[in-house]
Symmetry: C2
Subunit: 202 residues, 2 copies
């Protein structure tokens, strides 16, 4: 393919330095570290950011205002109803939400061909919202994302709109979603190392 | 740019025939027709599918099983609490969800350069989940998507888990989100025609 990232190796070295630091500071989700290592061991890819997926309770002044949002609870694993209720108990003002977010990985690719190869692998493994986030000589970025998601309003300004029974229900659904996307991450981990042996024609 | 869609003009002619039919059968969301017309009037783009965004009440056997899902109510405009309650009243079995989905447009582009130009315009106008869905000589597809979304479990197997008060709250939030993404569609409609006069370097 014609389109490739200029200074790919420099960019990768920089990203790897950033990752090393993040790892030291414990800022990388533990259950995604092996996957990141496998991708970064490949010649034509490097990870730039990642989240292994999460369940959270969030307080925000109004919907979409992420800058002023506060996490009252955040988990990259299955949660118990008690943990969620405890987080909800810390709510004071603004809108209160219960959220599930799928894993998200950003991966730089050397060439457009490499980017498309990874994109197709990810989609095939169930990461159906995967896409190419930016395409230029400066950056060829693949976003790997799955469909699991919940956005449930729980209350506002210190008042809860739902019952404990309801919270138990949605925690159950959230844990189902989490197990599902963790399974996909596992499969991606298994398949990632094979990618440089596959052949892709645009 | 080097990468371009082979048979672009044929593909566009085919897509336009499909659109004409869909329009005749009333299958295109009314409030997005002007935008589609403006994009399709451009030399280097054509729309392949679209939804102007919606609020809905859906029944599904289990989460993610779209094939067996049934819409009990679906609106491409603001809804009233009464309309939503009426749809909920039709629920019988499976999981019951209240959903908001942002507009989504798929646009074929002649060259990769054209695709990136549209992608950047869309992101700049607030369609932050926009991306390039596929990249090949067969198809260069831009997906235009925004962040508004709600996924709220309401009940299961004929039983409701939430109160009418709660439904009133989430309908309010959903209508806020709908107004917001309709505003973005309006801006995209205004800006789309200028795109072929702008210059983009990869």
């Amino acid at each position: 393919m014609f389109l490739y990232t200029k200074n790919f190796d420099e960019q990768k070295a920089k990203a790897m330095e950033g990752l090393r630091q993040a790892l030291e500071e414990g800022k990388v989700d533990e259950d995604i570290i092996t996957l990141l290592e496998k991708i970064n061991a490949l010649e034509n890819y490097f990870t730039t950011s990642s989240c292994s997926g999460r369940i959270s309770v969030m307080e925000m002044p109004h919907f979409g205002d992420k800058v002023n949002s506060v996490w009252l609870g955040k988990w990259h694993r299955e949660v118990t109803v008690e943990e969620v209720l405890e987080a909800i108990g810390r709510h004071e003002k603004g809108q209160l939400w219960f959220l599930v977010r799928s894993p998200i990985l950003h991966v730089g690719a050397r060439t457009l061909d490499d980017a498309v190869k990874l994109l197709n692998l990810a989609i095939g493994l169930g990461f159906k919202y995967s896409n190419i986030k930016s395409v230029s000589h400066k950056k060829l970025l693949v976003e790997i994302r799955s469909t699991e998601r919940m956005d449930v309003p729980l209350g506002a300004d210190g008042r809860l709109w739902v019952s404990e029974d309801y919270i138990e229900r949605i925690v159950g659904i959230a844990n189902d979603q989490l197990r599902r996307f963790k399974g996909k991450l596992k499969r991606l981990e298994e398949e990632a190392e094979k990618i440089e042996n596959t052949h892709q024609l645009l």
